[in-house]
Amino acid sequence: MHKKTVIAAAPILIGTLALASCSSSKSSSSSSSGGNKPGYTIGFQGPLTGPNAQLGINIDNAVKLAVAQANASGSLPFTLKVAEADDQGDPAKGPTAAQQLIGNSNVVGVVGPTFSGATKAAEPLFAQANLASVSASATNSTLTDPANGFKTFFRIVPPDSAQGTSAADYMAKVLKAKSVYLIDDKSDYGVGLCGNIKAQLGTDGVQVTGDSVAAGTNDYSAVATKVANSGTQALYYCGYYADAAPLAKAMKNTPYTGKTLSDDGTNDPKFIALAGAASEGWQFTCPCLSAAAATDATTMKFVTDYTASANQPPGTYSPEGYDVANTLITVMKPLGTNVTRAGVAEGLKTVDYKGLTKQIKFQPNGEVTEKAIYVYQVQNGKITELGTVDKLIAG
């Protein structure tokens, strides 16, 4: 992410800024021991630094946990490592990060990329290298369009079109909003999602006002004033928490009394940390399962293990990241000591694995078959699950 607003007055500074924020990448390996077993590597691509790093870290930690557990189980015919490639969530850095993983011949499967924009930029390279990449979070609807030729791309979250339709129905049928104000952050993800919401709101007969504010904007007070003045009953922000937080703060400074909502990019405890009291009452739609709100034994064990290994509780897309890593491991295991990139890519087409979040089975275009959208709300400074949109609409 982090597209700087470019100002014509300072070309020098902008050039140098681009230089300065050059990606840093690191490679870490989880401990592996095991005589003569061959070693394979699962790659991770996503933001590990930069303003939206938390979403990447959430997934990365889960991948490391899954790999460590698989190694420790002793049932693998090979040893596994994790290689990280940091793309900062930035489309411009997506291809470089992908190339780092492709260049590492031990990498047989990739978890990620994390953000839609970076995925779009990186996927042609993965397709060329026949290296399967399974995203736990990239939700832009167009990514699985066969015309793109991203033949090695899979994801275990439903696309924005599913989230957009559900979010619109939720606002129209559950919140009973007659008018909705949509703001996108001009990213591939934000624009795509808001477009989907707008289309469905039109079908639902809700009046829509739209605006876009580039991510990285500092001051949202004028935008907030506009929203308040419009007399809208609900505000939906399509973007990530780094920008949703200042927007929430600015909204609190207006007399606005309507509902405030955002998406899976904002559904993170960091949003509450940044926006403080202004985050109270915000609702999020998310194709993700919140580990914190879970009650079943498997998920609770995951929360305990994750917290112990990562020194922080699981965040948004941590369970999905864990599922993706385990899906890859499930595919790799029967291949024994002869795991190839082609073998993994082929195996994903027929995999059927029961993960934490859902039954993981892919359609031919790489979409997961199960598509539930959950609604969350910040209540007393904590993200609380309200249920799936389908259930909430049914009452």
């Binding site: 300065a20 004028a222 506009k226 940390a273």
Partner: protein
């Protein structure tokens, strides 16, 4: 029509933002006045102030309840003072380490500019490395609420504090520059540094003092900005560029011009959004700048403090 409908609702946040731009712009203009140098690293002085304020407030408030009454006032003052001091320290070091060696060697102007950009890159990357690259939130120091309304627009505690603090600092600065010996020194160096040194003004000391004064205001602005929004290692970039534009708008080198330019830029940015999509926010500011410079090439108030470079 769109302008008149909600004019006041947009004006109030515009004034708040404008006051912050003005505080930063003063730092650019002061340094330009004495050195004819655009100190692009000033945006990092602003960022340092934000982080200093963040750490002070975290230490004071911790995870406890939102303070109130006299406690709020004292915390707020502590935050402002600390961030101002840290801003001043960074500005002082910047002058010592980056610019003074160049001055001693009579380096050409372009080298100063490159050094300024280099120092800026160094500082914000250092901050990113030390403090993390995530945004951070300064804990609430007071309970924000509506104080009164003007023509249907709400004025909040936060906005009053920012505007009040900024105006107080600007008045103090104006007095220092126009009424004290220190100010006389700055004005003398700005008008003609050679003659000033012949008259017994210690130029190096005056330049250091100028950086420190700019750093005090920039650091405090960083803290106020942080309480209003968030603190981030790149938080200085856009406000810095805007404040630089504001300084040019008012007449670079002219202190009152920087104040006026900052205020004007903040208001134009905010009010213009009542008519256009928010995508245009940064465009509008610079269109205004170009329009003003077309008709008044030296800015609204002209370059008064220094000679036209």
């Amino acid at each position: 029509m769109c302008l008149s409908q909600h004019f006041w609702q947009f004006l109030i946040p515009g004034i708040t933002l404008g006051c912050l731009y003005a505080l930063i712009a003063i730092g650019y203009t002061l340094v330009y006045g004495v050195l004819q140098l655009i100190n692009f690293a000033h945006s990092e002085v602003f960022m340092t102030g934000g982080f200093a304020g963040l750490f002070v407030c975290q230490a004071l408030v911790g995870t406890g309840k939102v303070p109130h009454g006299a406690q709020s006032v004292s915390y707020m003052l502590a935050g402002i003072c600390c961030s101002a001091v840290f801003g001043a320290i960074v500005a002082f070091l910047l002058e010592r380490v980056a610019y003074r060696p160049l001055r001693r060697r009579n380096a050409p102007r372009l080298i100063y500019l490159i050094t300024a950009i280099g120092a800026s890159l160094f500082l914000f990357n250092l901050a990113g490395k030390l403090f993390g690259r995530d945004k951070a939130n300064i804990p609430d120091l007071y309970t924000d609420g509506v104080v009164f309304t003007v023509f249907g627009a709400q004025v909040r505690v936060q906005q009053l504090i920012i505007v009040g603090a900024a105006v107080a600092m600007m008045l103090a600065l104006d007095t220092v520059v126009n009424r004290t010996k220190l100010g006389a020194g700055i004005r003398a160096v700005a008008q003609d540094s050679q003659t000033a040194s012949l008259m017994g003004v210690n130029i190096n000391r005056v330049i250091s003092q100028t950086f420190v004064i700019g750093g005090l205001l920039g650091g405090a602005a960083g803290f106020l900005f942080g309480t209003y929004l968030n603190v981030h290692y790149q938080m200085g970039f856009l406000p810095g560029i805007k404040a630089f534009a504001a300084a040019v708008l008012g007449g670079i080198g002219n202190i009152r011009g920087a104040m006026l330019g900052g205020l004007l830029l903040g208001i134009v940015e905010s009010v213009s959004q009542s008519c256009m999509s928010s995508q245009w926010i940064d465009v509008v500011a610079f269109v205004v700048l170009i329009l003003v410079l077309m008709f008044r090439p030296t800015g609204i108030l002209g370059q008064r403090l220094g000679r036209a470079a």
